[in-house]
Subunit: 115 residues, 2 copies
DNA sequence: TAATTATATAATCATATACTTATATAAAAC
DNA sequence: GTTTTATATAAGTATATGATTATATAATTA
């Protein structure tokens, strides 16, 4: 597959969302691993509401989905999105996120529980 | 090839530039055909300075190049850009621009010379 | 049920963005 | 050399964006 054609307005909207360093990194991380907000907070030097607002924009566009599990809300890439193919193609061109994922897994904020 | 990895800041900057309907359309058109400003003006419902300013941003980022030929300055995609592969991958997901190119070629502003 | 934890939302604000009109520059035509 | 044509640049402006702090909500724990 990997060939879904999007309307130009739709495509530019997706690209604008990915045109922010924080959101692009979030998408890259979520493409490898579902995360809750407090896990993503380990990666970014910004407030919790900022991260939540970025996630909201990505969710509003259908790029990610959320699933509550207890007190945590886990975010993951929405593979059903019509933009999924475009995103996969873009992700091929950015650095892998193993270092950021290491940060998350090293600290395990969902066990520590004081984010 | 088609696998150039860009720094995350660099990639997000390129995506932000393409995250505008006008600029994304310009890039799609230029990927098929070099154009001068007065040709692109046939496609967009906006002022000449607006189109020029979009072209300037794309040029500043190295995505396009310009070549003066007489009174016209022709813009084209810069295949030497390190973002070229990313752009090609993105262009696969947006509609082809034959209708817009038809508009340009039908009116031939460089012959009419009153843009 | 009260306190804690995780997350979302609201309000605010400074900066960025995308347009406009006015003007400058540079080549072509007269 | 003056006028026209093509394009760029400058200045101004309204709106969008991305952050912050403060507060609300919802689940968990004590």
């Amino acid at each position: 597959m990997r060939e879904t054609i999007l309307e130009i307005e739709n495509a530019s909207h997706i690209l604008k969302l990915l045109g922010d360093k924080t959101r692009l990194t979030i998408i890259a991380i979520l493409s490898k691993r579902e995360c809750c907000v407090c896990e993503l907070l380990e990666v970014f030097d910004m407030s919790q509401p900022s991260v939540s607002q970025h996630l909201r924009k990505l969710k509003d566009a259908g790029l990610i989905k959320e699933e509550r599990r207890g007190q945590w809300i886990y975010y993951s890439l929405n593979s059903q999105s019509e933009s999924y193919d475009l995103i996969q193609d873009i992700l091929q061109h950015i650095p892998d996120q193993t270092e950021n994922i290491r940060k998350i897994e090293e600290i395990k904020p969902t066990l520590r529980c004081d984010c």
